[in-house]
């Protein structure tokens, strides 16, 4: 598959009065067409902010993209201004995002049909009738019964799961090339979450889209993602195919994260401590304080760049890179 998005050195900062928070720190990754990429990490690790940065949706101020490039479909997204025409024509058309809380992304005072058709009219310049027809078609594709009738309904008339389906339909209206699901199913009940994930998976396969799944749920990633980026303290600390990472986690954090999930009959191994503050970080490895494999050199060396060890499998752990004879 051809390369769809190449992110290089993306760095996003937030200005606070305590200091500058580097929420995303020198993040580089890529995604190919038709691929499912999982981005996992804990809250505050920068997984959402990195995606919002690509969409140029980071609140500014206090947020600011300070460095990096993101080549999408041959153009650098980060060159465009937040409110530029070019960016608006990409957002929602070639690249769509689904958020955790659909109620905040939908206008409560406008019916679904109008909100959906507006997307089509602005991006594709269709007529109102055409837009309505396509919206209804999309709604039925995401499994909403009586789609034509429900176009007249307002967001509060849908249940949580149904609202998220509407969000998926809306994101899919212009058949984007890249779909970003930012914790899209986290707030839902288990069985509803399973429905939606399966729906998302079907749609992505049907239209051969690339999907970026931002989540803290390792199970979701294990089930659906082809490749995984593990993020910690604003950096990608490990990347590789899902199977590689589970079979042989290189970074101690990844290893800890996988063993953090309770398994029957096994003693649970928790990662001790908590994530570091992101203000005035020393250049050393951010996981250092919690790491059970740390060595004396770790306290002196700056954190390693994400370096491939074996094919696509790359890590940013100095110790592991040395063991593998790469660094």
């Amino acid at each position: 598959m051809e390369r769809l998005l190449t992110v290089k050195g993306l760095t996003t900062e937030f200005r606070t009065e305590r200091g500058i928070v580097k929420a995303v720190n020198n993040v580089s990754y890529h995604i190919d067409g038709g691929e499912i990429l999982g981005i996992v990490g804990e809250s505050g690790c920068g997984k959402s902010v990195s995606q919002l940065s690509l969409m140029q949706l980071v609140q500014s101020p206090p947020g600011r993209i300070v460095a990096g490039s993101a080549e999408f479909n041959g153009v650098d997204l980060l060159k465009y201004g937040r409110k530029s025409k070019e960016m608006s024509s990409i957002r929602g058309k070639d690249m769509s995002m689904i958020f955790q809380e659909p109620m905040t992304s939908l206008n409560p005072a406008m019916n679904i049909g109008k909100q959906m058709s507006e997307v089509l009219i602005t991006h594709l310049g269709t007529t109102v009738a055409e837009a309505m027809e396509r919206s209804a078609d999309m709604l039925s594709q995401v499994g909403i019964p009586d789609a034509t009738k429900r176009l007249k309904d307002y967001p509060h008339q849908f249940s949580g799961g149904m609202r998220q389906r509407v969000m998926i339909a809306m994101a899919m209206l212009c058949t984007p090339k890249l779909l970003i699901a930012d914790e899209a199913t986290t707030a839902l009940d288990a069985t509803i979450q399973a429905q939606l994930l399966e729906l998302l998976y079907e749609i992505v396969n049907k239209y051969n889209l690339a999907l970026t799944m931002v989540t803290h749920n390792l199970g979701v990633v294990a089930r659906y993602a082809d490749r995984v980026n593990v993020m910690y303290a604003g950096r990608i600390i490990e990347t590789g195919t899902t199977k590689e990472i589970w079979a042989n986690p290189l970074h101690p954090y990844t290893e800890g994260l996988i063993s953090c999930v309770p398994k029957l009959g096994q003693k649970l191994e928790a990662i001790q401590g908590m994530p570091p503050a992101l203000i005035d970080r020393p250049p050393t490895c951010p996981f250092l304080a919690r790491c059970k494999y740390r060595q004396s050199e770790c306290h002196k060396e700056p954190v390693a760049e994400l370096t491939p060890v074996d094919g696509q499998h790359a890590t940013a752990c100095n110790v592991r890179l040395k063991e593998a004879g790469v660094a």
Binding site: E17, K267, A270, Q272, G273, L288, R294
Partner: protein, 320 residues
């Protein structure tokens, strides 16, 4: 692995358990999580409070009036009660900075002496009405269905009577002393505090920590005073500060329509009223005490605004 690393002074990050200690096995390590840096609440409060210049200006105005109220005899150039019939209705001059009234009394001195009364009435009315309001509000919010209905319906009825009419009625009944005046204004204002406290109790009651206290077997009284009341304080302080201006206004209003303190006590409202007859020819007679009212009320409101911002729970725990 050596223990040398743990003692490495350059290692600011090393707050986790020491090397070689088993992780997870004996899970009682102290300090598995690094404490967040402490936040000085007072410093943060002052920082937010002082951020807006108009708030600081308001505080400055209030302080000026406060100084005048505390040291009227030192600050006033003349005696506020001395009648000098030879020098009546004089325009502002070097001798009388704000002129004299129709009995030849120094307007500036009378304003300075009136500031104490304005302050007292403002503070006293707020204290009286907030105490009554808090007690009734707490009872309504925590004393069972019957008391809740009784107090809240009474409050609704009380609020439906136009405030000024109520205050006037009270003033007539209670007489023209400071005590009567304060009580009249306080009785006009206390239902507002009932509603505020009641609403706050209702919100705080919803919190899990109240349920946790009940599940621990805490008594109602203890929950009310240990958990609910402390969490009602911030909005109370804001409303009280804002209410100070209202108290001053109400007092001025009463004095203006002749229901305030009996003359010759210098009261700002009464002075504004006295100057009304000469408004076309000698406007400063009314304008000067009027401005004094404006300054104090504006000051109180700005301070209240600043306190509200500084106590905003969304700001708590941050240093910005």
């Amino acid at each position: 692995m050596s223990t040398k690393i743990t003692n490495d002074p350059n290692n600011a990050d090393n707050k986790g358990p020491g090397i070689g200690e088993p992780f997870g096995e004996q899970s009682f390590e102290v300090l598995t999580e690094a404490p967040l840096p402490p936040v000085n609440e007072f410093v943060r409060f002052m920082k937010v409070f002082c951020r807006r210049k108009v708030v600081v200006f308001g505080l400055f105005l209030v302080l000026i009036v406060l100084v005048a109220a505390i040291f009227p005899n030192q600050l006033a150039p003349h005696d506020p009660l001395t009648i000098n019939l030879l020098r009546t209705l004089e325009p502002p001059s070097a001798d009388f900075l704000l002129g004299t009234d129709d009995l030849g009394r120094c307007t500036l001195s009378r304003i300075i002496h009136g500031s104490g009364l304005a302050m007292q009435v403002g503070v006293a009315t707020v204290l009286v009405s907030s105490v009554i309001g808090t007690v009734l509000g707490l009872i309504a919010g925590f004393g069972g269905k019957f008391l809740e209905e009784l107090i809240m319906r009474f409050t609704d009825a009380w609020i439906s009577i136009p405030g000024m009419i109520l205050i006037m009625l009270m003033a007539v009944i209670l007489g023209r002393g400071v005590f009567g005046l304060v009580l009249a204004v306080a009785l006009g204002g206390f239902p507002g505090y009932i509603r505020l406290v009641y609403g706050q109790v209702m919100t705080v009651k919803q919190n899990d920590y109240i349920m946790a206290s009940i599940s621990m077997g805490d008594s109602k009284m203890r929950i009310m005073f240990k958990h609910i009341l402390p969490n009602c304080i911030s909005p109370m302080i804001v409303t009280m500060t804002m209410g100070l201006g209202g108290g001053v206004m109400a007092e001025a209003g009463l004095s203006f329509i002749g229901l305030g303190l009996a003359p010759p006590t210098p009261a700002w409202g009464g002075m504004t009223d006295a100057g009304r007859a000469h408004l076309a020819t000698l406007p400063w007679l009314s304008l000067a005490p009027g401005m004094a009212i404006v300054i104090l009320v504006f000051g109180f409101n700005m301070v209240g605004d600043g306190i509200r911002d500084a106590l905003d729970p969304k700001m708590r725990g941050t240093n910005n």
